[in-house]
Amino acid sequence: MSTASGFIKAIESGSKHLVIRRFTFRYPEQKLRFVGDGYQFDPKKGVGIAGYRGRHILMHDKCTGCQLCAIACEGIAEAIGMVKVDENWKQNKKSIMPQIDYGKCVFCGLCVDACPFYALFMTNDYELSSFTKEHLIYTPQQLEVKPKYDGSIELIITDRGATHG
């Protein structure tokens, strides 16, 4: 290919993108939509259910305080610690539940795989930043709250290119 036609082709290829819709989106105002409510695990079948691995959610009525999630996290991130709660559940005699330090968590989700009682799942909430380290530690009460997440942007591929909309 001659030098001139090489340049012309490059410019032509680039300038086409002047009329194509932009690929990016405005993040804090617009957010990505996720499929499902987050990563879950079915201990009976021994297989996970696809979903985003964000902040955890803890079902207080199912947690037995068995510490398997904390044991799974040992050697990975050591983010889970068991703490005493002021709740009386029949299945949880010791009244202990996991507390997660998101300053350490790597969001691998192996704690969810370890839970045999359908008590610990993950959600779509990924906006966890805070000004202090202490605020990154989520107590069992905080983990019980279902996150409010309303993303609506999705990657769309049309004949004229890919865009977020």
């Binding site: 090489g6 680039g14 021994g46 297989v47 985003y52 050697g75 795989d113 591929i157």
Partner: protein, 386 residues
């Protein structure tokens, strides 16, 4: 043109500084890195005579994390999240190789659907890695459009992997025994849409980058690595294939379902910087072809994971398995003494082997060609240091 042996002798002579005083005054030593010469913390010192590099001394080790030692204190499942950290852009291929080795050791059989999903995730992750590599190669050579485009198109595959695995980069998806979850609904169609669009984009890459006369002039004929030297130095992956050796682990040592897939090993014969940058591009094209076949041949339903004991352990023994990662052969050698924790893990990475070619390729080239040579080696310092 000096032979490899002469070059080794020459670099040794200069490295030991047994040069005459007057000659030493002529040379200037420059330290490149260790902050960030483009891809991670890595330093190399070069001695320049005017504009030409006469000596190069790579100095890796700034990001050594002791991955191999860490493996000895964790069980086989707990090892997964930390093993994928050194090269997060290619994390599925890292865990793929590790899982294969553990399965060999423990005698675990992966369900057929799980094998296909693994291979699809691995191909997608290779695309993600190669696009990231291409983006940095573009910006290294001052082509900022080539930084924006691959960085944007990476999102196509990141989006797919996010739906499949639940995380954008560190997937922790392959696990000894299969994959952690099945495909979500409508995933296959979405994959095909993305692949079709991506193939159109690859044509545009060719127009704006690979056929651009400026890029070709900067890379063609620069730092030629001959076939014999490539084999002697033991380079791997795209660097080896660019020198005319059609060597791909997916072909020579087919793992899982790759022996059922029809594909060609992409290689070039020139061995210069251009060939080293073009071979990964050809690989991306071939990878689209492989992914289509995998999606087509995949069983529609079935198990994806073999259930393991909570703290899995196998008989004492050892296993070595490797896969073709974005940077070449990536192997795991695991020795077990029968306990849940591995006795010894040795990781053989492509980055480190490709880095060994750097001193011999840089010598004799201009300093301005350094970025074009360095990044064409597909080198990832964090992976090399482990």
């Amino acid at each position: 043109m000096a032979t490899l042996e002469e070059k080794i002798e020459e670099t040794r002579r200069l490295g030991l500084q047994v040069v005459k005083e007057t000659e030493e005054d002529r040379l200037m030593t420059l330290s490149i890195g260790p902050q960030h010469p483009g891809s991670g913390h890595f330093r190399f010192t070069v001695k320049v005579d005017g504009d030409y590099i006469v000596y190069c001394d790579p100095d890796p080790g700034y990001v050594h994390r002791g991955e191999e030692k860490m493996c000895e204190y964790r069980n086989v499942i707990q090892n997964i999240p930390h093993l994928e950290r050194p090269v997060i852009h290619d994390s599925t291929n890292v865990t793929y190789s590790y899982s294969l080795a553990v399965e060999d050791l423990m005698g675990i059989q992966v369900p057929r659907r799980g094998q296909f999903i693994r291979a699809i995730a691995s191909e997608m992750n290779r695309q993600v890695y190669t696009l990231y590599w291409l983006a940095i190669y573009g910006i290294f050579l001052g082509h900022s459009t080539m930084f924006m485009w691959p960085a944007g198109d990476r999102e196509l595959f990141i989006d797919l992997l996010e739906r499949l695995t639940g995380a954008r980069v560190t997937h922790a998806y392959n696990i000894p025994g299969g994959v952690r979850n099945d495909m979500p609904e409508g995933f296959k169609q979405r994959c095909l849409d993305h692949i079709n669009y991506f193939e159109k984009r690859l044509k545009e890459y060719e127009d704006i980058f690979y056929n651009m006369p400026l890029f070709r002039q900067r890379t063609e004929g620069v730092a030629v690595l001959s076939k014999e030297d490539a084999v002697k130095l033991g380079v791997t992956g795209s660097v080896l294939r660019a020198s005319g050796v059609p060597y791909d682990i997916r072909k020579v040592e087919p793992y899982d379902v790759y022996n059922e897939i029809d594909f060609k090993v992409q290689y070039m014969k020139t061995g210069d910087s251009f060939a080293r940058s073009y071979v990964p591009f050809l690989d991306m094209k071939e990878s689209c072809h492989i992914m289509r076949q995998l999606l087509d041949k995949m069983p529609q339903s079935g198990e994806v994971r073999t259930k393991l004991q909570p703290n899995p352990k196998g008989p004492a023994g050892e296993a070595y398995r490797r896969v073709e990662s974005g940077r070449g052969a990536l192997g795991y050698h695991i020795v077990s003494d029968g306990t849940p924790k591995p006795y010894r893990v040795k990781i053989s990475v492509g980055s480190f082997r490709n880095m060994l070619a750097l001193p011999f390729l840089l010598v004799g080239n201009k300093l301005a060609d350094m970025p074009a040579v360095y990044w064409s080696l597909n080198y990832w310092p964090v992976e090399a240091d482990r």
